[in-house]
């Protein structure tokens, strides 16, 4: 199932930072990896990814370098910075609070429905 785009936008930054926290990657690789790890649930558009990456770079959350490590193409690799790691930690906590709150409400709704 592909998730509605609106749901994805809020957490894209977190997901991208998480990917980069594991290893340095280039854009295409990130989209592939994200799709793979989420069992094809997250299908991020390149047109969303690059502005996001460039923005994160401007803010010092990620840095970039060019490398031609695994093929003939010179690729722009992104790597997470200290600041980016801090942001990721922050986003994670935020996400935990948010998702547990959503779950509580959903569960609460269910019990209410049962008792009625």
């Amino acid at each position: 199932m592909t998730i509605e785009k609106r749901l994805l936008t809020g957490s894209t930054t977190m997901l991208v930072l998480k990917l980069l926290a594991d290893k340095d990657m280039y854009g295409y690789q990130m989209i592939e990896e994200l799709s793979k790890r989420s069992d094809d649930t997250f299908n991020l558009k390149a047109g969303t990814l690059y502005p996001l990456l460039h923005n994160l770079e401007q803010k010092g959350m990620v840095s970039s370098y060019n490398d031609n490590a695994d093929s003939a193409r010179v690729r722009k690799y992104y790597s997470i910075t200290k600041k980016g790691k801090a942001l990721l930690a922050e986003k994670r906590t935020e996400w935990k609070i948010y998702s547990s709150a959503v779950n509580k409400v959903l569960k609460g709704g269910a019990t209410l429905a049962e008792t009625c």
Binding site: A46, G47, H54, Q58, N68, K76
Partner: protein
């Protein structure tokens, strides 16, 4: 490889939305790589080349929206911290000099003249701010030689004061920044590249030895050496760092030793600084006055003038209270706290500039901004030292603060170059050179 027409069209549409032209190439390369990766993936799935390309482009998303988004993150931003600090320094100088200028012979006239030059300086700064600084990296040799020619013409046309050509000397202070462009162009040129840099450095050095005071030569040489050292540390010349540093510093040390040994004037200066009491009314007169004034200075308020200057004001004993010895004089006149504040303000400016230099991604931006900052920083350091009585080198100016129209214009131009680098420098990247391909030819 020829780009597919559809890819070309897609990239053009993205770039048309992005106003900062410097970033176009880099973005195109990144997006094109992505499309090609996607296309290859489709081809593996058994889709033919043409369809795979079209599908890959479609997968990217609306180019106008993507371009607009990218434009938002790549808008050139003025570096407000430096602008605010520059204006603060100018205002501080003007306010303090409005009190000290009347003490000086035709001081008010000079004060008003400096006001006019401050406006001209701000104009120069804005001009340099809008000029694309990358031209220093594009035509370094032409610019370097044009400046040399200009200086030689100035020397020929002007009359020296005490054997010094001051207008030519001012311009010499721009050489470290131009030198950064020369170094930038010696990428991967090996030891020969370093030697060529050395030859270019010889030009302003020899001129400065002929027409300016020692302080100019030292500022130029020190700034240029730091620039060279940074380039070596960044493996810019593609040579072993140790050998490169030996190649740079051994001749330099030899030259310094020869100059010091043959320059009795400089030895005299060292003696004057160490033993100011040997010749208190002659060659070490100024150092003695400085020491006396500083000894009598208070933390806040007017300091005490020793009895032996009875009947004379500090401004009468000390020449150049608004230019050469402004800092000493205001310490005496208003107390240490005022000079501390001035020095701290300048230090904050310099440190902030250095921090911004280290954030530059391209070597050109790094070298140019570091050279400009160093020129200001070393000037400041020499000035403070000499105003404290350690007068190994003549005080040139307390950048943006002390009275001097020539230095003000030069320093404002340097600030303009700095602002130009900080405005767009983050977007510029050096071309990537295929490492493997090149190393095989060595």
């Amino acid at each position: 490889m020829q780009r597919h027409a559809k890819i070309e069209q897609y990239l053009d549409l993205i770039c048309n939305q992005i106003r900062c032209k410097k970033i176009h190439n880099e973005i195109c390369e990144e997006i094109e790589n992505h499309i090609n990766d996607q296309k290859d993936a489709y081809k593996v799935q058994g889709i033919d080349e043409e369809t795979a390309t079209l599908k890959a482009i479609e997968q990217m998303g609306d180019p106008v929206i993507v371009g607009t988004e990218l434009d938002r993150s790549h808008r050139p931003k003025p570096e407000w911290s430096i602008i605010v600090l520059t204006l603060l320094l100018l205002v501080t100088g003007i306010v303090i000099r409005s009190f000290t200028s009347p003490q000086d012979l035709n001081g008010l006239e000079l004060f008003n003249k400096q006001l006019v030059f401050t406006v001209v300086g701000i104009g120069l700064m804005i001009l340099c701010y809008y000029i694309d600084f990358t031209f220093i990296g594009k035509y370094p040799k032409i610019i370097f030689l044009l400046f040399t020619a200009l200086i030689i013409i100035l020397i020929a046309k002007s009359t020296p004061v005490n054997g010094r050509y001051i207008y030519a000397s001012y311009l010499l202070l721009l050489f470290p920044t131009l030198f950064a462009g020369i170094v930038y162009n010696m990428r991967n040129k090996g030891y020969l590249g370093i030697i060529i840099c050395g030859l270019f450095l010889t030009i302003p050095f020899v001129i400065s030895r002929m027409v300016s005071s020692f302080a100019f030569s030292i500022i130029i040489v020190m700034s240029c050496f730091v620039i060279l050292t940074i380039a070596v540390a960044k493996k810019w010349f593609r040579v072993k760092r140790l050998y490169a540093l030996l190649l740079i510093y051994l001749p330099a040390i030899a030259i310094v030793v020869i100059i010091l040994a043959s320059n009795s004037y400089f030895l005299q200066r060292i003696i004057n600084v160490l033993f100011p009491s040997i010749d208190p009314t002659g060659s070490s007169y100024i150092i003695n006055v400085i020491n006396q004034l500083l000894l009598g200075a208070k933390f806040i308020g007017q300091g005490i003038l020793p009895s032996k200057f009875q009947g004379m004001s500090a401004a009468q004993c000390l020449p150049g209270v608004n230019n050469d010895f402004f800092l000493t004089y205001i310490t005496h006149r208003f107390g240490w706290v005022v000079s501390f504040m001035v020095v701290i303000l300048l230090t904050v400016f310099i440190i902030r500039a250095f921090i911004l230099c280290t954030k530059q991604k391209s070597v050109l931006a790094l070298l140019v901004s570091t050279a400009a900052t160093l020129t200001i920083a070393i000037q400041t350091f020499f000035y403070i030292m000499s105003n404290l009585g350690f007068m190994l080198f003549a005080p040139l100016s307390l950048p943006l603060i002390s009275q001097s129209s020539g230095f003000l214009l030069i320093n404002m131009s340097l600030v303009g170059v700095l602002l130009s680098v900080f405005r767009t420098g983050y977007f510029i990247k050096d071309e990537v050179i295929n490492n493997k391909g090149i190393s095989s030819s060595f």
